[in-house]
């Protein structure tokens, strides 16, 4: 299914149905197709290596946004975060999916840039628990 013709066919179906993200698992391979407003769908890289330590990780696919489009400031204010708190967003079309704090603690520097295309498991922040 990775030949260009199949991909183009899938992309056409996605566009026709307004699908913005498509994930496929085939054996031990994992593919995701992301439709972008001005660009053709792209096949993304294989999954990230297993994480070590406390990191917030992307639980979806999209462009990294540090602040909500309706809010002028980033979600990570003074560095202290609570388990389950929204720290950033992954935007795909109109959809915003949260990047959540895995535990209470203090947030470290961002490990990805604003606007970066991230996928499942990609690290976004390091968290120092406590």
């Amino acid at each position: 299914m990775t030949d260009p013709q199949s991909l183009a066919e899938i992309a056409r179906h996605m566009a026709a149905r307004g699908i913005e993200v498509l994930e496929v698992r085939s054996g031990d391979r994992h593919y995701r197709l992301v439709a972008e407003a001005e660009a053709a769908p792209v096949a993304a890289a294989p999954p990230s290596p297993p994480p070590a330590g406390h990191f917030t990780k992307a639980a979806g696919i999209g462009r990294l946004r540090f602040h909500h489009p309706q809010r002028g400031r980033p979600e990570t204010g003074n560095g202290a975060v609570r388990k389950g708190q929204v720290l950033a967003y992954l935007q795909a079309g109109l959809l915003l999916q949260p990047v959540l704090a895995p535990c209470d603690g203090t947030i470290g520097p961002a490990l990805a840039e604003e606007g970066a295309l991230l996928g499942h498991g990609d690290k976004v922040f390091a968290i120092r628990p406590g």
Binding site: H68, P69, Q70, R71, R82, V86, L94, L96, P98
Partner: protein
């Protein structure tokens, strides 16, 4: 046998009320439309949960609201950003979230925009009166006991066709373009000329289109009074009472325009300068008291294109919602 699922209001002001997309077909009895002042936000809130877009929700108007969910459910908040928290955990605006029985939702008065909308999976299940669950605050029927909300009120929740699967942490959508982002934002709405436009001199037209009007503090769901220069017709205009609609911009004899809105009387007789296009009424719903407002002239074709653009946004919300809920 248990009763319907409920939410309990812990704190509210009477400015907040149960609203859907309003009552139609009963103007001939003198009954106004009522309904959400920002129908885009209420529709988006419903679509995030897989509800019908016109399900009843709570319109939270520029004031705090706290409530407790008495059953496991899912909810969403759209419109002005009330910096909501669920059991203390901050929530973004235009966001859907799962709630467990006993959890407490708190919404604050927004710093930008005017109204936030709370939707719950299955909708607020107050009785339908004349085709709508909206509260007619002027006459006192519909919604919850025909009035604004108060601490101690218990509102029934409908049973959703399929309980929405909300992923951990919830999900949201980007707000529609034009959602006010700061208190200082000036709102612009598009206006089609109305019957008495030509009865005003050219200088009044110029003033109407170029002025940054200010929303007077005595404005409400019935109508907006605007502060600014006076618009005086060439000759005094006397009209017989006729049907009017939300969005009609009237000019009373004193010359300052007023915009009739959802809870307005169904008939009026002041000269009409223009009518705010249907697609921009939601922007008025987010205009703050004291906020700035400008009018831009539109044609019928532009009004229809704007409607289509709003529909496209809501279709996008629906797609994003289905993707997030994996349906």
């Amino acid at each position: 046998m248990t009763g319907p699922a409920m939410i309990e209001i812990l704190a509210a002001t009477p400015l907040s009320s149960v609203q859907d997309l309003g009552r139609s077909g009963v103007r001939r009895y003198g009954i106004g439309v009522s309904g959400a002042m920002d129908p885009m936000a209420l529709s988006a809130a419903n679509l995030l949960l897989g509800n019908e877009r016109g399900a009843a929700g709570i319109e939270i108007t520029a004031s705090p609201l706290r409530l407790r969910f008495l059953a496991d459910t899912a909810f969403s908040l759209c419109g002005a950003d009330g910096a909501a928290t669920l059991d203390g955990l901050p929530l973004p605006p235009f966001w859907a979230m799962a709630a467990r029985a006993g959890q407490e939702l708190s919404v604050r008065a927004p710093r930008a925009g005017m109204r936030a909308y709370l939707a719950v999976a299955g909708g607020i299940d107050v009785p339908v009166v004349m085709g709508s669950r909206s509260t007619d605050l002027k006459t006192g029927f519909g919604g919850h006991e025909g009035r604004g909300l108060a601490a101690g009120d218990r509102l029934p929740i409908g049973t959703p066709a399929a309980p929405p699967r909300i992923p951990e942490g919830g999900f949201g959508v980007a707000p529609p373009a034009g959602m006010p982002l700061s208190e200082a934002d000036t709102t612009e709405v598009r206006v089609i000329r109305a019957a008495q436009y030509g009865r005003f001199p050219e200088a009044a037209h110029e003033t109407f289109w170029s002025t940054a009007w200010t929303l007077r503090p005595d404005s409400n769901r019935m109508g907006f009074r605007l502060a600014g220069p006076a618009l005086i017709p060439v000759e005094r205009v006397e009209l017989l009472s006729h049907g009017i609609l939300p969005g009609v911009v009237q000019v009373p004899p004193a010359g300052e325009p007023m915009i009739q809105l959802n809870d307005a009387n169904t008939c009026g007789g002041y000269p009409k300068m223009g009518v705010v296009i249907g697609a921009d009424l939601w922007r008025l719903g987010q205009l703050r008291l004291g906020g700035g407002l400008r009018f831009a002239e539109a044609t019928r074709e532009e009004a229809l294109a704007a409607r289509a653009a709003n529909e496209a946004y809501l279709a996008g919300v629906s797609r994003a919602s289905r993707l997030a809920r994996r349906v």
